[in-house]
Symmetry: C3
Amino acid sequence: MFVKNCWHVAAWDHEIVEDKPFSRTIAGEAIVFWRTAERRIVAIRDRCVHRGAPLSMGRLEGDHIRCRYHGLAFDPDGRCVDIPSQSTIPDRARVQSYAVEVAHRWVWIWMGDPDLADRSLIPRTPWLDHPDWRCQPDYIRYDTSYLLIADNLLDFSHLPFLHPTSLGGSPDYAAVLPSIERIPGGVRLTKWVRGTAPPAYSAKFGGVGPDGLVDRWMFYEFLAPGILLMDSGMRPSGGEPNCAGEIAFRGCQALTAETIESTHYFFAHCHNFGIDDPSVTAEIHQGILTAFAEDQDMITAQQRNLALDPGFKMMPLAVDAALQQFRAIISKLLTEEAAS
Amino acid sequence: MFVKNCWHVAAWDHEIVEDKPFSRTIAGEAIVFWRTAERRIVAIRDRCVHRGAPLSMGRLEGDHIRCRYHGLAFDPDGRCVDIPSQSTIPDRARVQSYAVEVAHRWVWIWMGDPDLADRSLIPRTPWLDHPDWRCQPDYIRYDTSYLLIADNLLDFSHLPFLHPTSLGGSPDYAAVLPSIERIPGGVRLTKWVRGTAPPAYSAKFGGVGPDGLVDRWMFYEFLAPGILLMDSGMRPSGGEPNCAGEIAFRGCQALTAETIESTHYFFAHCHNFGIDDPSVTAEIHQGILTAFAEDQDMITAQQRNLALDPGFKMMPLAVDAALQQFRAIISKLLTEEAAS
Amino acid sequence: MFVKNCWHVAAWDHEIVEDKPFSRTIAGEAIVFWRTAERRIVAIRDRCVHRGAPLSMGRLEGDHIRCRYHGLAFDPDGRCVDIPSQSTIPDRARVQSYAVEVAHRWVWIWMGDPDLADRSLIPRTPWLDHPDWRCQPDYIRYDTSYLLIADNLLDFSHLPFLHPTSLGGSPDYAAVLPSIERIPGGVRLTKWVRGTAPPAYSAKFGGVGPDGLVDRWMFYEFLAPGILLMDSGMRPSGGEPNCAGEIAFRGCQALTAETIESTHYFFAHCHNFGIDDPSVTAEIHQGILTAFAEDQDMITAQQRNLALDPGFKMMPLAVDAALQQFRAIISKLLTEEAAS
């Protein structure tokens, strides 16, 4: 179902405010997050041990959260610390707790065995809060499996067809296959398209040569459970690295399964130009939003089609090499976790 | 699934008007009610024997109801009395009929074997139409199992937490456990809380001593399938029965399963003070409505949580003694009915 | 589930316009229709062989349709003719195609083996575009099985009860049973009701004698999967064929299963009087629409009732002879197709 022994993005850090519990379902488990008195974010199962009421409807008392139904209180480790109607607290009155880390505006959660939660395994996204980069954080909820969205992100040959007026560029972009490399927990894709038309959403900001053409690159890692870290950009066709006008992006995207058929999608498209002009950031972001709406329409329609006939078999093409590798990685991780 | 051999509240008597069939699903069975020429309320299955059309879409003709689809007519016992397209009426052209009784504004229906429908078994709710008491009848529909609502009504330790500003009072109210007694078909709970803060919804009407405190009592029976008959009230702290200022309520509440996951909830909170001032009744009722909305939010969220993980096991506490006894009573009745 | 080796009505021909793919689900299969450069209507499965994306979201290029997701293009036979990201096209890159025929404004599709698609088997509906007849084409979507609607159309004894003020006429209409004849792929019903009250929707247009009564006829064929071809009308009571004032209709109705529990319903009620006065056509059509809304309310309520208790057994009456024969025909066809 879900790969659990890895870091999932649970939220943008600004989503979890002081003095208010925050509830989000991840990998099928309802989880309540809150900030302790020291503003540390903690997370436990959003379900009172007593009758299953959501703790997120309760109130915070210092570091503790108190259920609004019958008043049981729990500490950040999920231990029950008060049962108003009785003086003894059973040992097993304990809610599951989760390892949580904040890094570069993302709140990460480890859904599996807490003893395996190694902070050094968190994918690096320094551009999200680096002074040389700008971005607008955002979030979309999908009513589809995260795997269909991962498929989309692992094959950018769809750009000229699905996003002709936003991210796309010209059809030759689809004909250049990326090179693909296995890396721990995922794949790395490398693609250069030289002498091609620039995509609409960024053409006005630079990178375009006197002939109107660009050399466009896209290097990215895609890591379980669904983290996309992308270095992309363009420079005037035939130009050298860091030539005049070159513009670059660092895309950070994370797919987190909510349930089998719904997904949280966190994303920001960091850019290294016009960083003192908020209108540049807003315009870049709007271009991304337009394209992501096109993706969501298509993927949602695709999921409806697949649901109509569960027996349908997809037909892999050469462009699907990366997504097939990634699906194999996920399957292997699921098998390993099921066996352990 | 449903206990059938007992009286269920089907409706308030004013819901079933003359000249118009009334449909309600009870314990998974769609039922049509109407008033005969003598205004007697009768009830048969809301399903024509012919093609399954709802009879409630049809029209009344004297004591009979005629299906709007192909015109079959039925008497109050469910016997087919006319088939327009043929002259003979098969013996088996008979819709299931139900025993119905009206008592104190509630319409009661016996969902099981009609031969066992003993009117003397109807729980007594004389306060609903007694001249010394006043109330405002009301109804809420829940999208949850009736059992979760019964749980709520069998453990009032939730009052200070879920209803702090309406029914609640102070946290010490939760710490006093009621005494519990088995009675035929249910349980009786008895609870006194002395020298406590009065609940907000009734404090202004009396019962409060010079020190601002009250002695608060709550005696109630909870009977299968989900009938709550409550004698509650408060008097100035340390006062004697019927002392100056004592105020009392007789709460009448009935849970009737609509389906496995939906419930009809009929209720009225009768009071013995200010009975000539309709604004008092309205204000008492509004206090109840506010609290019941808090209950419904919580129980609906609880049901969503339980649905997310059917494997979750609740953890019984001392306060759950009554609800566990009641669930055991329901299970025993279900087992007996399944065996008979 | 669905009878496939027969012609289904897929659309009115005006629904499928030039330059725009048209999607409709029939018998559980999503299908995309479009017009070729020569305006011929073609149909293939609305699902790209690659990842299952709906082709109807794509664009037309001459006779071809190109998927909007990754750009694969298909010809009207469903053969893949272009894969932008690779130079070779696998033989099995082929989408299922369907035989399609247009006849008298209806677009017919053969859902089964294309080799069996014999145009001569298409039911004849010349009145839909004949200069001596007029009608207003229309369409309703049902959230019920097509079988419940077929039941309705095979037993018009419901007219005086369900449609008393539109199609109905007087109760004696229900008492006259039609004669029923087996014909290839269906049944033929013949019914005369003499000296009866005229139905409201057409009484003003003629057929009524000086005594206010009419002789009313209704001859129709009902063919798998759900095609109704009806010759109906009325003349002054006791009159001869083609007497003064006689008015006639040719009703053309088609039920096409969308899924197991939803249905496309195409219909037009052709008339041979007032053909140069559009208001006559509009008024006839409105009478039909009113009646069809009454049918839809009833059949939808019936389906809800049946869903509440799948164990319910209908009780056949004499009026159900035709619908039982038709259900037997459908069962026989399904069995034959399953075995072949």
